[in-house]
Symmetry: C2
């Protein structure tokens, strides 16, 4: 069915064309990002961030990796080529370190005692 493809493309394109989610993907081009980093970088509440990430995850655009209470997100491999092309055209945004304590911070703090 032709409409199957068309509907799927419509769904996926609409999903990633949201300004916030597109910006998230621009950050993810440079590698994994922790949820707390997004919360730090965007002027949005944590639930809003969480909901955007859920949409990206459910659609298979990103994958998660849990590490303690932290959750890291990364781009899925093998995205459709028209999606990859969009990602390539995105400016690649660079994340600064965020306020939340990373596991590494904690380990380091621990070792300093």
């Amino acid at each position: 069915m032709n409409n199957k493809n068309l509907d799927a493309m419509s769904f996926l394109l609409k999903l990633i064309s949201d300004k916030t989610r597109l910006r998230m993907l621009a950050y993810l081009k440079n590698g994994e990002m922790c949820v707390c980093e997004f919360v730090d970088l965007f002027t949005l509440t944590q639930p809003a961030i969480s909901q955007h990430l859920k949409k990206l995850r459910t659609a298979g655009v990103v994958q998660e990796r849990k590490q303690g209470t932290w959750v890291y997100y990364r781009l899925s491999p093998d995205l459709p080529n028209y999606i990859s092309q969009i990602l390539e055209n995105l400016p690649s945004l660079k994340a600064k370190s965020c306020d939340c304590q990373t596991r590494e911070d904690l380990i380091q703090l621990e070792s300093l005692k």
Copy 2:
């Protein structure tokens, strides 16, 4: 400004990711289409079709050519490559002839009298 690019991409992607407009673009891959053809092909009212085409036109995705009361639309040349890539991945839909009388029909009808 990075956000300028990002916002522009978000705007354009959101614009073409609508299911109806994406289907219109799939038809336009095969060449010009008359408004009346779209009206014929879609189960939508004429104003709805017209509004979709206006959005595509205003955003520079399609161009129009007026011929009498008929208006033909075609894909704009030199679209951003990430948009072209999307178009390539679209199924190319084939239009049947529509009910509206074309100029050619009228000329032919005239000559038969």
